[in-house]
Point group: C2
Chain length 257, copies 2
DNA sequence: TATAAGTTATCGTATTACGATAATGTTGTG
DNA sequence: CACAACATTATCGTAATACGATAACTTATA
């Protein structure tokens, strides 16, 4: 009984941890590699992989390396399909995209990051490796800062305690002071901007929306290349962004989730 | 020890089954609903949901209904990120999209269906609810028929035994005979077409690719609205499609997975 | 071919997940 | 408002199962 609640279903937790061990750098792993990476006994990994393979969540190649199976994608797809907010907002997002002709994102707060739940991407030379499911830090994204700016000070302070600032670019805010100041401005303005804080060349404007208890739980953002980004543009995007975020808040307020 | 292999990690299997219980029609479920739907004892469901909530795979709203959590999306995202073939093909697919200016799809065979692994969608009036992770039948998709057409006859016969034909449109092939004939033509041509067999107004051309053992394991397809679709178009798309599918086959041949 | 490393199979034991039941909380109805 | 019906949470003894050590076997490496 190590951590957390009273019910602990170990093998379920371990099985999911095993799936989470895979990533861009670890596409294929052998039994022992998995055992080492997860810190599980090799017998345990053997049982886990056997079960997961049988269910289609893992595949094994002829070199006895394990890969994630397609069942995992299908599972991920289930979420977007079974998310009322996303379904509701989809037409609004399409309208927003048509109106501003820039990449638009729907983010939801998940722990200490924002996760892309829907993204309509403008095709251009510079393509980002962002998709539904991508998790991004709060402190260097327009969506994240928009959410933070509406959080209670207590919450923000606790967040600042545990966050590990990383300078993705020279423009990334990496001190609690700098971030707090930026959040104050954002709060007053009702929107947040990200000017090349996460990636050079990438800018965005984000507006938060709120659940029925008034807590910011997500944001809509519009992204644009740095060379086209300016205050005039922000002003132009602001009204449609606020309209879309407002629709989200309203939906969450009426549909008691 | 009901079915399958010797190792059976029940709670892992049940936990994943629980997640799979969610879908467009079942976005939010209570404990007892989940218990009924999955056929698990309520105590079991209680343990499963507690564990999954703690791990972020489920969320519970104030009405005590469970929803899929964002962790599931993130997990799904892991697959596409950790799939060598997809990473390799992405630029080819972008080129293909530019060249033909139609929606292109990368499908992989998974059981008796094809799953979209990557999709570059042309924006147009008619938008389909298809995304990465969508699973589609083999017998009424260009990709599926392209794969089937290169399968050994034995395999196809076994498939025809177990498949449950459903007429999505009046054009859907719903008999083994009709399908077999179509597959014969496809095999000779080296590509398969889907003319409004899955959805009215939707057509596609698909070309299969092969793993290193020569078994067809996926397909590239190009989709177009029915009003624009004709033989001349197929001819125009064929060469770039074959080129892309060829790249996939070559990749799978060299990278021993 | 010899040696090491990795994978699969076996098995007794301690742990854990199971499901019945009871207690508590919630919702709907007269 | 009180009662009933239902749903959720907590408790607990037992049976089952997941655990991990070990051995047998297979595959890579020098």
């Amino acid at each position: 009984m190590s951590s957390g609640g009273i019910h602990h279903l170990k093998s379920l937790e371990k099985g999911l941890a095993l799936l989470e061990a895979f990533g861009p750098e670890t596409q294929a792993m052998t039994l022992t590699e998995l055992s080492q990476r997860c810190g599980f006994h090799i017998s345990t990994v053997q049982r886990l992989t056997a079960t997961l393979c049988r269910l289609g969540y893992l595949k094994r190649d002829h070199a006895k390396r394990y890969h994630l199976g397609l069942k995992v994608i299908k599972l991920g797809y289930r979420v977007t399909q079974s998310m009322a907010l996303r379904t509701f907002l989809l037409p609004y997002l399409r309208d927003l995209f048509e109106e501003i002709d820039q990449t638009v994102n729907l983010f939801l707060l998940e722990g200490d990051e924002v996760v892309i739940v829907e993204r309509i991407e403008k095709r251009q030379i510079l393509q980002y490796n962002l998709h539904t499911g991508s998790g991004l830090p709060l402190y260097c994204t327009a969506a994240g800062k928009a959410i933070l700016s509406h959080m209670e000070e207590e919450w923000v302070n606790a967040f600042l305690e545990r966050v590990n600032f990383k300078a993705f670019t020279p423009h990334t805010l990496t001190t609690p002071q700098a971030l707090k100041e930026a959040l104050k401005v954002s709060r007053e303005q009702g929107y947040a901007v990200n000017i090349q804080e996460l990636a050079l060349g990438a800018c965005a404007v984000g507006v938060a929306f709120f659940d029925k208890t008034g807590i910011p739980c997500g944001a809509i953002s519009a992204a644009a290349p740095a060379q086209f980004f300016n205050m005039e543009m922000v002003k132009r995007y602001l009204e449609p962004l606020k309209r879309t975020a407002g629709a989200a808040s309203q939906f969450l307020g009426n549909h008691k989730d």
